[in-house]
Symmetry: D2
Subunit: 346 residues, 4 copies
Amino acid sequence: MIKVGIIGSTGYTGAELVRLLSRHPHAEIVGLTSRTYSGEPYWRVYPHLKGYTDLQCEELDLPRLVDRADVIFTALPHGHSVEVAREVLSRGKKLIDLGADFRFSAREVYESWYRVPHTAPELLERAVYGLSEINRDAIRGADLVANPGCYPTASVLGLAPLLAKGLIDTREIVIDAKSGVSGAGRGFSQKTHFSETNENFQAYGVAGHRHTPEIEEQLGRLAGREITVSFTPHLVPMVRGILATIYTRPTVLPEAEELYALYMDFYREESFVRLLPPGVLPQTKAVAGTNHCDLALVPDPRTGRIVILAAIDNLVKGASGQAVQNMNLIFDLDETTGLVFPGLYP
Amino acid sequence: MIKVGIIGSTGYTGAELVRLLSRHPHAEIVGLTSRTYSGEPYWRVYPHLKGYTDLQCEELDLPRLVDRADVIFTALPHGHSVEVAREVLSRGKKLIDLGADFRFSAREVYESWYRVPHTAPELLERAVYGLSEINRDAIRGADLVANPGCYPTASVLGLAPLLAKGLIDTREIVIDAKSGVSGAGRGFSQKTHFSETNENFQAYGVAGHRHTPEIEEQLGRLAGREITVSFTPHLVPMVRGILATIYTRPTVLPEAEELYALYMDFYREESFVRLLPPGVLPQTKAVAGTNHCDLALVPDPRTGRIVILAAIDNLVKGASGQAVQNMNLIFDLDETTGLVFPGLYP
Amino acid sequence: MIKVGIIGSTGYTGAELVRLLSRHPHAEIVGLTSRTYSGEPYWRVYPHLKGYTDLQCEELDLPRLVDRADVIFTALPHGHSVEVAREVLSRGKKLIDLGADFRFSAREVYESWYRVPHTAPELLERAVYGLSEINRDAIRGADLVANPGCYPTASVLGLAPLLAKGLIDTREIVIDAKSGVSGAGRGFSQKTHFSETNENFQAYGVAGHRHTPEIEEQLGRLAGREITVSFTPHLVPMVRGILATIYTRPTVLPEAEELYALYMDFYREESFVRLLPPGVLPQTKAVAGTNHCDLALVPDPRTGRIVILAAIDNLVKGASGQAVQNMNLIFDLDETTGLVFPGLYP
Amino acid sequence: MIKVGIIGSTGYTGAELVRLLSRHPHAEIVGLTSRTYSGEPYWRVYPHLKGYTDLQCEELDLPRLVDRADVIFTALPHGHSVEVAREVLSRGKKLIDLGADFRFSAREVYESWYRVPHTAPELLERAVYGLSEINRDAIRGADLVANPGCYPTASVLGLAPLLAKGLIDTREIVIDAKSGVSGAGRGFSQKTHFSETNENFQAYGVAGHRHTPEIEEQLGRLAGREITVSFTPHLVPMVRGILATIYTRPTVLPEAEELYALYMDFYREESFVRLLPPGVLPQTKAVAGTNHCDLALVPDPRTGRIVILAAIDNLVKGASGQAVQNMNLIFDLDETTGLVFPGLYP
């Protein structure tokens, strides 16, 4: 059994880790830390887990936790995982960070978008970006995985085949993304306040959201050149799910079948990417609760563009599910272990 | 492997059966019938199941389906399961009916509330009411199980311990129940129309809902006397979940601890009933997607009443999950097989 | 023009007062106070009011505000209106308090349910309970009006005709009420957090909600005797609206027509109470944004009970609309001034 | 008083016309036709209007209705307004059509996107496109007004100032729009089915929605050249509201202040367009129930693009409110008559 410790376990991504690991046949949670709820049974914080974990939330005692665990998941505000990483790596254990602290290769990018100094830039090189479908081999050997952001996961999976083949004009990428409110976490704010958010729709962080440079770095790697994108996130009055609507301009517009074949080929071996046949569009509800990414492609001869649609559950493939997928890779398990189940529909 | 056929598989309870059985280690679906979608891959009707079933919807060919199957689930409008039952039983197979056709011991009650004649009243005696926690032993030997309605499941589980002990005034039971919209099925109507139902709350079927006599019959059995209740269902602008708020008047008002102990004792062996400690109230979200029933008890010295709160997922414990639980009982499997997993929260 | 000051204007009831008064032909807002937003244009706090008020939020300077105003509305946490009341009354102006500080005739009841001492018990006698339909004459001459709570408004309007006629067993009243989330105000909490509340339904404050004694006092006045009720509030995943489902046992069960005639007669002159004909049930959406209370009555011969259903908008008839109605009464305007418009449906 | 007849009055845009006209000081509804509900009191179809109209739904008797009315509103499926128009115009009355039958100057465009022949192409020239802010003068003298579609209203108001000044690359316009479910009307379908739509987000009509050519024609007029756009509509799990997120590439990127000044100048005289200051973004909730269009502009130096955000209520400014605005223009009333009130928030 892989022994797992979760630091910052009472946010939504923490709760999803507990949900997923409680049914994982080869993992066992050995510690759940929480500043706010320390001493409380975990199920009192998350009532759906009554009967599924007997653990209590505990204060973080890092060395003790690391000693007990084979792998640590951190689900912390940015800036807080760096010290954990040092400790975990120095004791020869693995770290999967669900935050942003290790997602960038250049500290400058991190520092300019997140507005804090990076206190362990030497680890940036050691970290592997954990988009499992793209970086599988590197993840297998990693001891420090930067789990991707939710918007980048959907955006990069949607664009990867076209970029890898060099088929689109890299100056003409627009990503219009929409997320359920759980993406804003369990913290209270006006944006997560029911009466303000229900029956409401709005954009936020226009031309300034922190997932923008993460998307650009990953797209740039695939394309082999620097890429700048317009990225606009929106808040949908629902709990879970991201839909990214991506506008691209190919150098030559392919036929629908050709385009479909390109993606089919690129994702042939993937368990979690589901390419929908022409005429079927993704819905967030179809992936709710699961590690799937549903994709559709619409070439538009009128405009010469290709519209790509990608749907994920922001808390699963966009966070905790992908983190477990990465854990499976690190520990040489079948990548899908504990993650193969359909979602909740309706 | 238990071979399963589902008749009327493209309603919501059908889809939940497919979701649950697709991860059941000892069951295999051999046929999915649908009048509307015959010939279509099942996942085209329910996109969350892409990759989880390769079956196509088929026209009902009853003898052929029964021959292939060990057990048939019927998820049909009332009146339509009777002929299926004859055929299934005559061929020595099992039937679990998710509709109302076999839920009553007296045909007169069925006929007066459902306003159709019952064409096989001789089967009513053979049928076992499939509330697993209450009728477990009878279900084990049954070949015809009447799966309970969603409201009766929550109501009877909430009241059973008090009634079985004869502790309440049986003339003073009020059940005020609230359900998500999926309880109305996949059929189109004003009550299931998004713009009419979202941001709206209303009662329906006041003093006349068909689950009333079902609740009364089951409560009457537990109490050993005829019982009449006030039952009012309401429509909640959410997809899944039932909360029943039940008002009772005990002959002597017990202390909270005593009451809690009574329920704890009654449900001690139950895997799916979760009794919440004093001070914690059930939420439908905590049981969403699961076979659990969460219960709480609030004795009120001011009024001399006990308020009981019971939460279930109407499509799982209130329908398809309980149906699978009954299948497990019939086939001598561990009752919880394929049903032990936490729900989706948030 | 009636000059209006609103203290605590940036909560939801404050915003509704601004919305309603901005279209009131005989009222003018002269001051909006807010601790949190002082100095900001009001429309920055409530963007729907851009163009409808140019006022800025101001720090409370009580004497100055009272001098400018003819009437003060207080929308404050309980305990905070008492000092305001003294000041307003000493300067010969009127106060309409949307909080609980003046709703009870006995300070002991207030103190035991709200757990603070009442610092001006002498004012309790002077205050008039502002349920306009019931206390119209007293409100006309009042200078201190206690605007009713949202649940009491729906509950008392639903029960008044039966109680006033002495037709029901006063020991057998159960009020099962359901409210949209805006009833919890603009403050942040887990109960108002979108991801926790959406797709969720739960009871709260079972057997202990503070509106219970308010309901009991008002029902008791109508009946001429002490009344104890079971009152259970629930949280509905929607923004606005209350539906109260009220169970009563008449001494003799009337026919539907007779019952309907009784209510029709009682509410004959009322502009805001809409009695629905037999067979039609209230929906919260039909009263959203309005000062209406929609009522229906269902006598149930099977159980000998009458089920009463009452729907209001908790922020309008349950708070700010009724407060304006009371202002109209105090200032001898037509009671409906500024309040006659249909709601938003769908 | 302007005498108004509404044909097809029981859809959502019809109900909004009744809501708005019931408080209009210079209009009176003289007839409400409905195929489905003929003979029923209108309030039975729309319970929020109980007390606001005593009219019954009537079968369409066109000559009789036109005789009684000064202006007819048609809220019919496309293809059905053409015959009405002939009759209305031949009797010297006015027609405001909320459908698509007169929105295009070229019958070929209409016929190719709507796939029906246009049976009165001679009227296309006579019809005025009723986007009040852009075509005010022409509307004043019109007897046949084609009321704009909801998406075109938001899109064209968002883009008009930039296009009129020729400041953007007209080949680089992407309009990513999101609508509440009421935009799909009162008809039943899977897309309007609560359980399928709630907690779900999806695109529809990608690269093929019928509002595309309407947007393109109007943008083209403003720009003085043919324009092709990428337009993608999405379905938001809420009832009302459209947000359009519009991506443009200016030939020279202006400063934020300059851009803001351009729009301020263009919309200086407009009562219903509210330009939000830099840093504030539109929300659909802030315009719910109103005739406003809220606009924001975000120049993005990183990408060289300008992102424009436009929010309207699809049923008001996107349909019935704009229709009343056009009626006011035709009849030489103040354009804002009956339309000046804030919306419902929260």
